[in-house]
Amino acid sequence: MSHYISITDADRAEMLDAIGVDSITALFTDVPEHLRFPQLDIPAPLSEPELMRELHRLHNTNASAQTHSLFLGAGAYNHFVPAAVDQILRRSEYYTAYTPYQPEISQGTLQAIFEYQSLICRLTGMEVANASHYDGGTAIAEAAIMALNVVRNRRKIVVARGVNPQYRAVLRTYLQGLDVEIVGDERPGASINDALAQVDADTCALIVQSPDFLGRLHDLRGLAEQVHAAGALLIVHFDPIALALFQPPAEADADIAVAEGQPLGLGLNFGGPYLGIFTTRQKYVHKIAGRLVGVTKDLDGKIAYTLTLRAREQDIRRERATSNICTNQGLMALASTVYLSLLGRQGLRKVAEVGYHRAHYAAAQIGQIPGYVVHADQPFFREFVVQCPRPAAAINAALRERGIIGGYDLAADEPQLGHAMLLCVTEMNSKSEIDELTAALRALV
């Protein structure tokens, strides 16, 4: 028995009798006998209190935003998550439901996704948002595949170096079986203009990111015009918190705009589950992969929500589908919906502003320390590059001794920057924390 199983021995005997077999084993005669009932060498089961103790031991050996001052970003950000977000996520009406294929008894999930799509459209200015993809990286890959299907008979994707290197890696994984060339990001330090120069008559999309991997904000207006002139689409990876202050992707006339939605109330979770935000224009709605929720009426004329335009999806189109995506990140989309509703117009702007000013304060303070060079000649959001007097790995090891998790070591991704790290400051890093970091860095010169 297990406390998760609700069938007693007496039930089992009665049920076997009703089935007309004399033992459980008799239900498995189709399984080749020599392979049946292997011994599985896995650890013995633990009671709940024992398991809790074990879990405490494990999680306590990890550093976290609770045990350390965190100045690490690079695609996963330590933002404020209101307690109210998790209280809604703990409602089992949401988390123990499946995909809302039966709309009459799934209006909760469906309305939440509809509100998610609506909020994301307001935030981005884009016309259509789907019910989400796995994460920012896969959203970029799916955007590229969609572009290949919109702009037919072109086999080149140009991606700017400023796109998160992990996302660029995912893009290459996704497209490796198709006969597609991915260029534009080969040279360390290459700019968006360098990528744009590679957009030609065989290009189906240009992918850029702003704020880019190094935190720099780019003015993307006018870029779409040049990309469109070549007959290609513009794909923009944005940051949802930055949009509270800075120009939304629709203003850049993006054809597809995607983002990692993790900053919107999801927490760090050691890398997942996160949220792939995916938006496009109305005219491409039939080309979009993933679920969409629309509104209609029921037989009594009541407003009701339902999955719609389903004929695009894998269970109907099978090998003619352009993506095999089945799940979305439903619960994560719900988290971001509750987050955006709680923060609202004022709160979201405040999160962006406090983070912006604190990051600039940190950059200014660190820039005054002899031996450190801060790259702040261009507008940036939340993250900035610091060139250090010693290798970033050594600096980070020393910071760790003081209870600080330092920045992302850029040695592998951008070697031309020398001993550089990418520091991240959000509304969660108070002035005193920043001052401690500055003092620690000063001591390491």
Binding site: H286, A311, R312
Partner: protein, 129 residues
């Protein structure tokens, strides 16, 4: 179940119909096809001027629960598409051989190789069983 299969049209096994009008052909989907798909909610139309070989996919048609490719019944250049279908797809269900037409192509003369009404009905009967 019986379906309307006008005698004056030619038919492709992939359930498109063809009507010859001068040096052009009009193309749509058959009554049987619209019934099998159910309420049509979307048609992806090609651009005027696009050229297809017989058997090429020229578009996609979707209902609430199904999706099907559309195949060019003959070879040739598209001279017109029924843009009314972009906003209202209902005519494909209600009037598949009339207001539900999908496109016009320059005639290549291949339409004579297509099925006549009797042969198409036989083809449908075989598919249904």
């Amino acid at each position: 179940m019986s379906f309307n299969t006008p005698l004056d049209l030619r038919y492709a096994e992939s359930h498109e119909w063809v009507r010859v009008e001068g040096d052009e052909v009009v193309v749509g989907i058959t009554d049987y096809a619209q019934d099998a798909l159910g309420d049509i909610v979307y048609v992806e139309l090609p651009a005027v001027g696009a050229t297809f070989n017989a058997g090429d996919v020229f578009g996609v048609i979707e209902s609430v629960k199904a999706s099907s490719d559309l195949y060019a019944p003959v070879s040739g250049e598209v001279t017109a598409v029924n843009t009314d279908l972009e906003d209202d797809q209902a005519p494909i269900n209600s009037d598949p051989y009339g207001a539900g037409w999908i496109l016009r192509m320059k005639s290549s003369g291949e339409e004579s190789a297509l099925l006549d009404a009797a042969a198409y009905e036989k083809h449908v009967a075989e598919q249904q069983h």
